[in-house]
Each structure stands twice: as C-alpha cells, then as structure tokens.
C-alpha cells in the first residue's frame, strides 16, 4: 500500500459522505438510555449528590484533582445546585433524544453529566464511562439531520426538503472506533487473567450474590457449559473490537453482541450497562444498511391500513361521500 493509498483510505473513511439515518437512529436509542440512566439516580439522589452525600464535594475534588470540568465548582455545592444540574441534564437528554436543538442539547447534556460524574466518582460503572465519552463525540456528529424536531422545524422554515443529504461521518467514525476500542480493551484485559483463560470467569461471576438476577438453571450447574460461555463471550468481544469492520460478518457479529448483552441483562444485575452497550451496537450498523432499514420502515408505515378514527353515522357518511 502506498502513502497515497493510505491517505485516500483515511479520507474515504472519515470524510467520504455517508447517509445520516444511522447516526440519527443511534441518537434516539442513546438519548433514551441517557434519560433512563438519569432517572435511575433519582430515588437516592440526595445520597449521591446532596449536602450530606456519601462523598463530600471537597473530598471528590481532592480525588479528581484540580481543573476538572465541573459545574459544582462554579455554582457551589448545595442540594439546590445538584438538583438544578440534574434537571438541566434531564431536559437536555430529552432534547437530544427528540433532536430538538440537537447539538446544544448534546453539549448541555455532556457538561452536566461530566459535572455529576466529577461530583461523585465512587458510584460510577463502565456504563457511565461509555455514556460520557460517547456523548462527547456525539456533539460533533450530524445526529440531528434526520428523525428530529430540528429537521421538522427545517421543513417548516423552508430550510429542508426531500431526504436528508449525506454528510462527512468523521464524528460517527470516532464513535464507532471508540466502541470497538471498548470491546477490544476489555477482551485484552480479560485475556491477561487466569480465570478467563481457564474458563472459570462465568463460574465466579455467577456465584456473586449481589449480581444475581433471574435463575439460569442448567448453564450455571455445568462447569463445562460455563467454560464455553466464558470463552465465547471473550470471542464475541474480540470480534466486536476487530473484525466487525468486515462487511460480510458485521451483522452476524452485531447480533452475537446483542445476544451476549441480553443474556447478561437477564442473568446479572448491572443496571443500565447492558442498555448502554446495546444502544452502542446501533452505531456500528453500516449507514447504508440503516438507510435501507429506515426506508423500509417508512414505506411500511405509509402502507399501513387507514382506519377511520370516527365512523360517521349513515346519513352523514352519505353526505360526506
């Protein structure tokens, strides 16, 4: 491969125009998970962020270090500030999901989310990390160009017509690469451990009482089955981090990833994490496949049987005809 070839590949990958339907559908799924994640904080909100929280703001600041993006350090650390930041985050997340002032909503959602994470870093899991880093990249994408209130407003104001134009997908590509890195990194971490190499990881994980959710009767009783599941799950993560880019394999690997996350969601209590990861899989669907899918769904919607919402009395029906 020549330098010119590498440059050309780079340009096509990041800047060759692609349909925007894929990133728009991803925005809706991701926005829904962002809202869900925020709502899960609400019942114990004072314990996490209030004036008598489990972690004091000064201790969190010592732990995270100076100069962090944190609205609490500018607005003060009171219960009211915490609720204000939280409410702003929730409104911005709804705006992001609906595609209402999409980029502004994404910026506000990101700044408020990072502030909450810096206020109490001890309650965060990898799902929170994924939400934070992907939300940052989503700011730069053209996620509001389709299936959004912004687009609908554009029609009303004469700024938009016909199907959305393809755009440079560089932000979408960064999101996809970030997702692949997550899977590749976690697979690499796991391959360093004995329990994953010997196949005992699912055995140990299934014996952690705090994580138990619904019963898994046969699989959890067989050491051989648990070993197979351990190795298969690492293989799926490796595939999602690497060969998911091979076009012929992409959809099969994404379906395997979906099944992996659904099975963990059924068997283990790790709230929102699997939802986050499933929403991220949507970002890996090829843009052209997503356009094909959304076009078919729109066609089906337009061909749906028309139901008369209010049947008219016989006399009036005749008159209307």
């Amino acid at each position: 491969m020549t330098l010119q070839g590498i440059r050309s590949l780079w340009n096509r990958f990041f800047f060759g125009k692609e349909p925007v339907e894929g990133i728009a559908v991803f925005r809706i799924c991701f926005g829904f998970v962002l809202i869900s994640s925020a709502l899960f904080l609400l019942p114990c909100f004072s314990d996490w962020f209030g004036s008598h929280a489990i972690v004091q703001a000064s201790t969190a600041a010592t732990f995270t270090g100076p100069g962090r993006l944190n609205l609490f350090s500018w607005l003060g650390d009171s219960e009211n500030t915490a609720y204000l930041i939280y409410a702003t985050h929730l409104v911005a997340a709804v705006g992001l999901m609906l595609g209402f002032f999409t980029r502004t909503s994404a910026v506000v959602a990101f700044v408020t989310l990072v502030s909450l994470h810096h206020r109490n870093p001890l309650i965060l899991n990898s799902g929170d990390t994924a939400l934070r880093v992907i939300l940052f990249l989503l700011i730069f994408s053209r996620a509001g160009d389709a299936f959004s209130l912004d687009r609908w407003r554009g029609f009303g104001q004469g700024r938009a017509s016909g199907p959305p134009a393809p755009q440079m997908p560089w932000a979408q590509r960064l999101i996809q690469l970030q997702i692949c890195l997550m899977y590749l990194a976690t697979a690499c971490f796991k391959l360093q451990g004995e329990a994953w190499s010997y196949g005992d990881a699912v055995y140990y994980s299934s014996r952690l009482w705090d994580f138990e959710r619904f019963p898994v009767p046969f699989l959890y009783d067989s050491l051989l089955a648990m070993q197979l599941v351990t190795w298969v799950s690492v293989a799926i993560e490796l595939a999602l981090g690497t060969v998911v880019w091979v076009k012929e394999w992409r959809n099969s690997i994404l379906i395997s990833g979906l099944l992996l996350h659904l099975s963990i969601e059924y068997s283990m209590n790790i709230p929102v994490f699997q939802w986050v990861m499933i929403s991220l899989l949507v970002a890996l669907v090829a843009p052209k496949d997503m356009r094909h899918l959304t076009t078919r769904m729109q066609a089906l919607w337009e061909r749906r049987p028309q139901v008369d919402p209010l049947p008219l009395p016989a006399g009036r029906r005749k008159k209307a005809a």
Partner: protein
C-alpha cells in the same frame, strides 16, 4: 471479503484537485488528536511511547471527562462476596450496627435502584486504596443514625466482611449457595470520632 467503507470517486474531499481546505485540515487534526486520546486512555498495557504520549494527552482527558477504563470483571472477576457494616457508638454508651445496603438481600427491582450503593461500598470503600473516602463514609453513617438529638453518635467504626468463592477445582460451589453468617471473615478497618458539626 470487503472492508468498510465503500469507496466512490466523489467521496474524496482531498483528492479532487480543489483548493486547499483549512476546515478539512482542522478536522483532520481534531480526528487524529482524539484518536490518540482514546487509544492512550482506553487501551490496556504500558510501553514507552504510550507513556510519553499520555503525559500530554491524559491531563486533557481527565479535565474534559474523557477518562476511561474497560476492565469490567477483568483481568480477574471478583472471587469473594463482601459487604460492609458500621458500628455506631452513641453518647450514652449504647451501640448499634448500621448495615450498608446489601443487594443480596433485595428483590429484583430494589437491586436495580440500589446497585450504586454496592459500587460505592463493596467496589470502592472496602479497599485500602480508597481510604481518602473513609472519613466521609463515617460522617454519612453518623448523620444517618443521628435520630435522637439527646443521644448523638460519637464514634463510628467501619467493618468489612468477606467470604471467598473457592475455585471449582478445589471445591465446586453450587449456584445459589449462601454462606452462613459465621463463615464470613471480618476486619475493622477504620474508626472515626464524630464531631458535633458532622451531624448538624
């Protein structure tokens, strides 16, 4: 076999012989910078080039909230079941045990809403590397247990309890097995004298 993306001649912004586009140059630099950030901050392992790059990139990632680690259940999954308790001594000499929310004793729905308590207590506070937060934890327990104004808490001690899951080769633990209270090991890892302003 075809690797994405699809190529087409009119999809190459730099290959069309047009005038130099500063916006595309800025975008290229932005993309390269953030690719470096996510590689340096996200990939496991350590080697000299990565560490050198991290000196420049990590401060940006930390400040912007782009820090990340993907070591879920890795390199080794947890091999113990653990929980925390706080022993609270009150001014009149009486004591009370305050148990941190334990997911293993909750139903499916309660577990979902209380998972962050497990993250806080079992994954973080239990460990010596998070000793910075022990005083805050003790103050939180003191504030929670200060229900009688005439008899405020005056000392809080934090205890960790744990029960190791043995390897399947040594002793196969059946699914759903629960250890009895006496089978847990325990250790008092912190004591805190409560000040009057802690429970205001």
């Amino acid at each position: 076999m075809k690797i994405l993306p699809n190529s087409s001649a009119d999809n190459r912004p730099f290959d069309r012989g047009e005038t130099f586009d500063w916006r595309l140059l800025a975008l290229n630099l932005f993309v390269m910078f953030h690719l470096s950030v996510l590689l340096v901050c996200g990939m496991p392992g350590s080697f000299p080039l990565k560490e050198k790059a991290a000196q420049f990139l990590r401060p940006y990632a930390l400040r912007m909230g782009l820090w990340q680690s993907w070591d879920m259940f890795a390199p080794e999954p947890f091999t113990l079941n653990a929980y925390l308790e706080a022993e609270v001594e009150f001014s009149d000499g009486s004591t009370r045990i305050w148990t941190f929310p334990r997911l293993s004793e909750m139903g499916v729905v309660d577990k979902m809403f209380n998972e962050r308590y497990r993250k806080w207590a079992v994954d973080n506070i239990r460990l010596d590397k998070h000793s910075l937060f022990w005083a805050d934890t003790a103050r939180y327990v003191a504030w929670k247990t200060n229900t009688v104004p005439a008899n405020p808490p005056h000392k809080v001690s934090l205890w960790r309890y744990w029960h190791t899951i043995e390897s399947p080769e040594r002793r196969y633990v059946p699914a759903g097995y629960r250890a009895r209270a006496g089978q847990f090991q325990k250790y008092k890892f912190y004591s805190y004298q409560v000040a009057a302003e802690d429970v205001l």
